[in-house]
């Protein structure tokens, strides 16, 4: 299990593995936003939490279709399926590796982008907290989407169509935390709900993902 995690991480970090791609996408999307919205700083303050959350979500989505695709092409996914490690654990480790290589860098980059978007000081803590707690759910749910579409040609577009509606609750709660943090109102309640969502998704989604993988490997 640990070996698989280390293997996935090193594959991602190696050149062409896609590590940093999501991060770069996140940077570009957020930097482009003011060009679309206008340079008015008070407007940017209002939309900053939402932009950062949407950016994080899209960046997560971008790297999802690579999650199983490489292992599927070279046959190592079948090896993993026949190994003593249950597929549920494989899916869980994949989700964790995905989060470590995309979710975590996004959390680290968010404060810098918060400055660019004129996020008020009291909002930073809640933005980071919401991203740190919410992005694991994005990875867990995304694993399921990636497992559903693993064998398909041109699965990428379909993947976003399947996964984005599932991201709705996470996005709602996450952006709500960040927005309330900026306003200075009670942000703890949505944060707790977001944490519950992440826990539930991380616990349940590997099973759904494993079920989908079994069908695709049949």
């Amino acid at each position: 299990m640990k070996g698989l995690l280390i293997r996935d991480l090193s594959l991602a970090v190696r050149a062409g593995g896609g590590f940093g791609l999501g991060l770069a996408f996140f940077l570009i999307v957020t930097i482009l936003m003011p060009f679309g919205i206008g340079p008015n700083t008070s407007t940017l303050t209002i939309v900053a939490p939402g932009i950062l959350w949407i950016g994080a979500l899209l960046a997560c989505l971008l790297s999802l279709d690579r999650m199983f695709a490489l292992d599927w092409e070279d046959g190592s996914l079948e090896l993993l399926a026949t190994s003593p490690l249950p597929l549920e654990a494989v899916a869980g480790v994949k989700a964790l590796a995905h989060w470590l290589t995309t979710g975590l860098p996004l959390v680290a980059a968010a404060p810098v982008l918060g400055i660019v978007l004129n996020l008020p000081p009291q909002g930073f803590f809640w933005l980071i907290a919401s991203l740190a707690i919410g992005t694991p759910a994005l990875s867990a749910i995304g694993t399921f989407g990636a497992a559903l579409t693993v064998g398909l040609k041109r699965g990428g577009l379909l993947l976003s169509l399947l996964v984005l509606p599932l991201y709705v609750p996470t996005l709602l709660f996450g952006a709500e935390v960040a927005r309330r943090g900026v306003e200075g109102s009670d942000a703890a309640t949505p944060l707790v709900l977001l944490a519950g969502l992440t826990l539930a998704a991380s616990a349940a989604m590997p099973f759904a993902a494993a079920a989908a993988l079994r069908v695709n490997l049949r």
Partner: protein, 249 residues
């Protein structure tokens, strides 16, 4: 007890049996549905008085409410048939779910469009990010994803399995989204308009009877469409099997 077994519901899971029964049933369902829809909608459109506050716009009620109900019920039916497929592996069940999805999609679209048209003169806006409206929009996206996944997967059994799992997971997320949306924004949409609260009927009798008839009509229309489309799907499956066999020979 052969007689009792013959009456079991699972008999209809046999495609041949399903084809025979649905062929006998279909004309009746279609006729009944046409009668109910015709009666309910014509009664509602021509022979009901204007409502005190909303004027003639209440006439949209006879389309908006039944289609909205069926949009949700269609997904519920897909959930049940998906579960039956996953547990008991009855092909008809999986194909019925496939057949129902576009019907649910169209009903959702009608509920959304009529809702927007109704909202414009009464609320003063086409669209409001209200929890109820937004959940229907999300339901629409779920239908799209479900149909797209059916189309994308080559192997019919794999497609049935994957869409069934998606339907299960999607149902859970649809319910979570519903509550998340309530938390996110309090709504403009009135509560569930059919069930009576505090012993007082929210809808007066003059509107109630045509509404009930048109709801029955839409339910029957859904049943008719699903039966009809499931028959097509069963034939399409058989066609696919024949063509595969031809290629191999």
């Amino acid at each position: 007890m052969p007689k009792l077994r013959a009456m079991s519901l699972w008999e209809y899971a046999n495609p041949r049996k399903f084809m025979a029964t649905s062929a006998a049933l279909l004309p009746w369902v279609i006729a009944l549905s046409a009668i109910c829809l015709g009666t309910g909608l014509i009664w509602g459109f021509f022979f009901t008085p204007d409502e005190r506050l909303q004027g003639a716009s209440v006439k949209i009620f006879y389309i908006h409410v039944p289609t909205a109900m069926m949009a949700i019920n269609a997904w519920a039916m897909m959930l049940v048939t998906s579960l039956i497929w996953l547990i008991r592996r009855h092909h008809v069940s999986a194909l019925a779910a496939k057949a129902a999805a576009p019907v649910g999609l169209v009903f959702t679209a009608i509920a959304l469009i009529t809702g927007a048209l109704w909202g414009q003169p009464t609320w003063g806006t086409w669209w409001e990010w209200d929890p109820r409206l937004t959940s229907f929009l999300i339901l629409f996206l779920f239908y799209l994803g479900y149909i797209a996944l059916w189309e994308a997967v080559e192997n019919p059994d794999s497609a049935a399995d994957l869409t069934s799992v998606l339907c299960l997971v999607g149902s859970v997320f649809a319910i979570v989204s519903r509550y998340a949306l309530l938390f996110w924004n309090q709504g403009l949409h009135q509560g569930w308009s059919i069930s009576a609260t505090d012993g007082e009927a929210p809808v007066a009798d003059v509107y109630w009877y045509p509404a009930m008839i048109s709801i029955a009509g839409f339910v029957l229309l859904f049943v008719a469409l699903v039966l009809f489309r499931t028959r097509t799907e069963i034939r399409a499956r058989r066609l696919k099997a024949l063509i595969t066999r031809e290629r191999m020979a």
